[in-house]
Symmetry: none
Subunit: 215 residues, 4 copies
Amino acid sequence: MKAPLPASAEPRSRDADRSQLAILASARDEFAQRGLAGARMDSIAARAGLNKRLIYYYFGSKDDLFLAVLERTYADIREAEQMLHLDEIEPVEAIRRLISFTWHYYLDHPEFITLLNSENLHRATHLKRSDRIQEMNSPLVQLLDTVLERGRRDNLFRAGVDPVQLYISIASLCYFYLSNNDTLSAVFGRDLRAPKAMAQRLSHMTDLVLGYVLR
Amino acid sequence: MKAPLPASAEPRSRDADRSQLAILASARDEFAQRGLAGARMDSIAARAGLNKRLIYYYFGSKDDLFLAVLERTYADIREAEQMLHLDEIEPVEAIRRLISFTWHYYLDHPEFITLLNSENLHRATHLKRSDRIQEMNSPLVQLLDTVLERGRRDNLFRAGVDPVQLYISIASLCYFYLSNNDTLSAVFGRDLRAPKAMAQRLSHMTDLVLGYVLR
Amino acid sequence: MKAPLPASAEPRSRDADRSQLAILASARDEFAQRGLAGARMDSIAARAGLNKRLIYYYFGSKDDLFLAVLERTYADIREAEQMLHLDEIEPVEAIRRLISFTWHYYLDHPEFITLLNSENLHRATHLKRSDRIQEMNSPLVQLLDTVLERGRRDNLFRAGVDPVQLYISIASLCYFYLSNNDTLSAVFGRDLRAPKAMAQRLSHMTDLVLGYVLR
Amino acid sequence: MKAPLPASAEPRSRDADRSQLAILASARDEFAQRGLAGARMDSIAARAGLNKRLIYYYFGSKDDLFLAVLERTYADIREAEQMLHLDEIEPVEAIRRLISFTWHYYLDHPEFITLLNSENLHRATHLKRSDRIQEMNSPLVQLLDTVLERGRRDNLFRAGVDPVQLYISIASLCYFYLSNNDTLSAVFGRDLRAPKAMAQRLSHMTDLVLGYVLR
DNA sequence: CATGAATGAGGTTTCATTCAT
DNA sequence: GATGAATGAAACCTCATTCAT
């Protein structure tokens, strides 16, 4: 999950690229762990093993850096989604795969959740400023639409299911359980992160969604 | 939405209770708007119309104040839940009412969402320190269990539904849509807060859950 | 050493006297432990088990309270000195007794040392303001003079010993060892508070002074 | 007396060493004048002509700065002691020189006394944390031992004199008179700082110590 | 490309003291 | 006589950012 970030476009200098990537990676971790206000530019520099001044040289400001991290975060998940190939498998299996993918992606990328929470606390002000905002729209919604359509045509799925709503619901089910795990565990007095609890959750979510879409 | 706590009064009130409540109310708003790290003690004092020193006099520190706000936040929702009386209505209606309540409570109490997000960013460290943590457990889980049981006995509901999982799922569906509304709206390029979208969401969530629990 | 302070002159109210004494005692301990700047009015009130406002009622301000503590501290040692009766014993024994008394008084009253250090840090500004400053002059200097005179007349002691200088020297030897005990122990790497070290110190001081005054 | 550390320079010096020395020098003066609790970081920065933030940049905290000042204070006196060469002169003269040096060092370095008093008020907690504590042990104790041994071999000095005790006693006699000068002057009602009084004191101390060590 | 030095503004917290009863 | 409530000033310390090399 904290694998080296892939290199960007045209390389000017190996060192420059490496430095920028190191900053992005350490910024992602720091913002994810402490939130935007809680993150420290000093910590980001220290984590990256680079001078603080360099962050400003490459990214301009804390907020701009945060946006850069967000953009990369979205790029990463969109890239991972490319591997799903929901259009190549049968509808029920496609639904299962989408739930499983969403679940495991959030699980493997906890920074995704806390970064989005931070951005939502800020009313998406950074994202709205982004030039690449249209690239962030998931192609999965479109794909899910065709999956639902195929399922319905096969008389398996119910009609009238909105793919956007379903996509959001699947995200909801996975996201909330993980994002609120600590408070839920504290309040319920049990460890919702235990392997058994995790398996039960995935199973429940799948039952819930399939119970709904299947006729 | 900020009803339970009375607004701050004229200064020099010499009314300890009123001062504490005013601080709690303004702290709740400030923490909710800016997060724990982003909140400013100065702003909290100003919002409450009281001297900053008084916050420390009554609450000790920023973290202790945050915990006090969390405790009250949980107390508020638990109190609201008392009104639901899920045990007095028929199972399908009870499910509908639970979803509707959850949805509208989050809608009317946006601070609930951001406060919990802040606490989860901090791995529930404040809550774990609370003496009243056991009081935060929702009685709804127990009630939901009896609802499911009644539904099953009437041959309406499927068997084997875990009330904890279902309770979390209903919370998930409502919470995520609202908590991530800004980023979702930005990325999808449409206003998910529009009245029509909101109505569709409530309808979808109800269909989803009922589609699952009904045989 | 922290024995209840003796009651003052005309009693108005038992409670009033008791409160004032409690404040003085707790102030003495707080000032002694933390110095004037380091002492906290809150702590003094808490130690005394009384309301902070009462301190101002009785003593006016932190500095005035400090002076009150100093005055009492001097009064205490002057009172203890009354018991010495140096004029009733033979000269050599009188010298021994004076050294021993000084040593043990400082030992039993560590607050004496730190309070005086605090006042010296402040260039004796409080004492100079005191009305009772003349009462603080030790009668021992006068007594020591007669002791030295008797010793010289008996042909035991050398002539020309200034009683003020000797009085200060005896105080020096006892005071410094105790006041600087912690830094000395740290630097020398040995525990100068150990019983054996303490006994050796008293013995050395006695030898030093007697070695000087005896012909 | 404040010689060793160069005075602060023009701002924007961009000279790390000079800045650190300027901070140390001004911190030494501020701590010496007001004690640890009474010292103000603002004053230290102002005295040094540097930004307050820089103090934290270089020294971390008020307590760490205080320790740095203490370490330098000890280093300074140890360095001065190097010049004494007690092993190169005859025993009686060596004793005289040691007393005179101690007296004049304290006289020229009043900060030495108040800094040590502050550290003793804090039970040597800073020193105990120091890595360089062993460097603070005075080589004079060892030298004094050989002086005493030589004097005894020449049949001049008495036997059985503990060099540690004597070293401490000499320090006591000089230190206390100066450290407690203000309260003593106030109580005795005479100016113990007057040149004549100062000369008498040095003379008395020398007589006292020599009267003891000489057979 | 890279960095150590430096800073102004502002952060949380503390303090002696006063107010109102 | 006694107290809880309240405060303005200032304390220590932190932060994002810029300077100078």
